[in-house]
């Protein structure tokens, strides 16, 4: 329909990022999720600011005791401060989420860039690999992989979880990068740069990479939330992080077992986890809507 597209063309030209920012600024969801993200980041960086209690100071004499002396939500089955444990749990979650997203981003950028830029058989092979990895159910593969880690060292388990999530979780981002590389490659200025004699490496670095960053960051923000949820799930199942590491997943599981006696040790870490995951997903969702307003 010619008329309609012409009306579209009549919009006054303004930068995509500028439009997106103007759109974002008016959205309460954006501000709420951003505030939550910053709050939980602060909690992970400096838990001491939010509670003066020691999360590892547990005494069975205080089992399911009522709130007292800074323990806002009372004590859990082991007699630990429920609130302090929830605060300290942010660190492991965010560490796993951020590092997995970082590695995922690196793999996705590399694979997506190679596949999208070179096309041909490189693209065919890499796309197949993406299909196969995407075809493996994430939780099942993580179970199989993590089952093999029988060490209890906190660092080893943390590394293993991050490794597993990065190895299994990069495919969606790689697809996004690939398609934005393909569309950037067809732009006139890339053809111009090539005619001026710029090499492949320079074109990829200077001209194509900047174009793929915005969509990649959106996908990775959402992925960060998903990775935090995945870490908690694996720890909940007992194959992710383990004691003495403090993780929401572990606490949710033990809270679940004893919920008939007291529900607070279940509800508190559950709320922390849900709000954190939601915050990242909503943030990514809001940014994506702002950059891609087609369906609003």
């Amino acid at each position: 329909m010619s008329e309609r597209s012409d009306v579209g063309r009549l919009r006054k030209p303004s930068s995509l990022a500028g439009d997106a920012w103007r759109d974002l600024r008016r959205k309460p969801i954006f501000w709420i999720s951003l505030a939550l993200v910053l709050l939980v980041t602060a909690m992970a960086a400096a838990p001491g600011l939010f509670t003066s209690n020691d999360p590892t100071d547990c005494a069975l004499s205080r089992q399911h005791a009522a709130p007292s002396g800074g323990a806002l939500f009372g004590y859990d089955f082991q007699g630990c401060d429920t609130y302090a444990r929830a605060v300290y749990g942010a660190r492991a979650s965010l560490l796993v989420g951020a590092l997995s997203a970082l590695f995922t981003g690196a793999i996705a950028l590399l694979v997506g860039m190679l596949a999208g830029y070179f096309g041909g058989w490189v693209d065919a092979v890499l796309s197949r690999v993406i299909d196969i990895v995407l075809g493996i159910p994430l939780l099942l593969a993580a179970i199989v992989l993590l089952k093999r880690v029988s060490v209890d060292s906190a660092t080893v388990r943390l590394t293993a979880v991050i490794f597993v999530l990065a190895v299994l979780g990069w495919t969606t981002a790689a697809r996004v990068v690939r398609s934005s590389v393909i569309s950037a490659r067809q732009q006139d200025y890339v053809a111009a740069a090539r005619m001026l004699g710029a090499g492949n490496g320079r074109i990829m670095w200077r001209h194509i990479l900047p174009n793929t960053l915005a969509p990649a960051i959106v996908v990775l923000t959402i992925a960060l939330g998903t990775f935090i949820a995945a870490e908690a799930t694996l720890s909940f199942l007992g194959i992710g992080l383990r004691e003495p590491t403090i993780s929401w997943g572990i606490d949710i599981n033990s809270g679940r077992v004893h919920m008939r006696e007291s529900a607070t040790p279940l509800v508190v870490p559950s709320t922390f986890l849900a709000l954190t995951v939601l915050a990242f997903i909503m943030l990514g969702d809001a940014i994506r809507d702002a950059f891609d307003p087609k369906l609003r």
Binding site: M1, I29, I132, G135, I136, P137, L139, L140, A141, I143, V144, L145, K147, R148, S150, G225, A229, A232, T233, F236, L237, G238, I239, G249, I252, N253, G255, R256, M259, R260, A263, L266, V267, S270, L273, A274, V277, L278, I281, M282, D285, L295, R296
Partner: protein, 312 residues
């Protein structure tokens, strides 16, 4: 159509070998003591050690040994011989008892997703940017953002233990009512995704040129939406639900574990907890096959629904 199915079948066979090889390699390659890996941290009796060595041909070594063992594992899998768990029960028997429960649960979850998700998605798509649309978008975002390990225990606590609207756990031979709450919890994620997918698809199709044509034929709006738009919009939704049914069968680990439902996921959950290696390996292998078959069925379904694919 026939050629299409044959081609997809061949692709699936390739994918089957690829995926099982990867899974098998993940499970056994580069292992120090493979038997200890299967058994986790539990002490292994001499009898178990002998059984596992024979079962997985662990005496064969090197790359050749690895492939020998892989094909042995594969042929056992194809013959349905999954061996015994560390507790001495036949894994085939465990699964035979567990499948009906899991299938029942998955069907309830899909029914929830279809009845509420697709209906609300169609309405939201038609009334894009309305209050209803924005409310459902926000609600689905909430559902998508809350992990199952939060949703399942909280639903169990509030709806089962505290307000006693549903049985909090299912037990050995669960009836429909006992499976309803877990089914809703399990289906909520599919519901949210199905809703968003339906909404986007309906909204896109409403702006398609063929809708304008249908209107210019003088058809009532009701018919334009319910026949022309819906028939096109539901193609991606139905394929999504097909893949999702495959996912739900394997993805019920948490839900079945929390609600104590003796399905496949529950047995996997227990296998992980009790570090029962053979049980985990057996169930995961079967689930991967189920997942592949579900994908194949969906591909064929897609071709049935969309003539453009069928005649490619």
């Amino acid at each position: 159509m026939f050629r299409f199915i044959v081609r997809r079948l061949l692709q699936m066979i390739v994918a089957f070998f690829g995926t099982t090889l990867i899974v098998y390699a993940l499970m056994f390659a580069g292992q120090g003591d493979p038997i200890q890996a299967l058994a986790g941290e539990r002490p292994v009796t001499e009898a178990q050690r002998a059984y596992l060595t024979e079962k997985y041909h662990l005496d064969a070594t090197g790359v050749g040994g690895f492939f020998y063992r892989y094909f042995d594992y594969l042929s056992n899998l194809l013959r349905g011989d999954l061996g015994e768990s560390l507790t001495g029960r036949s894994i085939g028997d465990i699964l035979a008892a567990a499948w009906p429960v899991t299938i029942k649960l998955a069907l309830i979850a899909i029914a929830v997703a279809v009845i509420f998700g697709v209906t609300a998605g169609v309405l939201a798509g038609i009334r894009r940017a309305s209050i209803f649309d924005n409310a459902t978008l926000l609600l689905t975002l909430l559902v998508l953002g809350i992990p199952t390990i939060v949703l399942a225990p909280l639903a169990q606590y509030y709806l089962g233990v505290r307000w006693q609207l549903f049985p909090p756990t299912a037990g050995a031979d669960p009836d429909f009512y006992a499976l309803l709450l877990p089914g809703i919890v399990l289906g909520s994620l599919s519901l949210a995704t199905a809703l968003r997918l339906t909404r986007t698809s309906v909204a896109e199709n409403l702006r398609a040129d063929y809708v304008r044509t249908a209107r210019s034929k003088g058809l009532p709006r009701r018919r334009v939406v319910s026949v022309h738009v819906l028939r096109n919009s539901l193609i991606p939704v139905i394929t999504f639900l097909g893949v999702e049914l495959g996912n739900l069968m394997s993805g019920a680990i948490i839900t079945e574990g929390v609600f104590n439902i003796p399905g496949v996921g529950f047995n996997l959950f227990r296998g992980i907890r009790t570090e029962d290696g053979p049980l985990v390996v057996g169930i995961v292998s079967v689930l991967v096959v189920v997942y592949l078959v579900a994908n194949l069925v969906v591909d064929i379904l897609y071709a049935v629904l969309d003539p453009r694919i069928r005649y490619e």
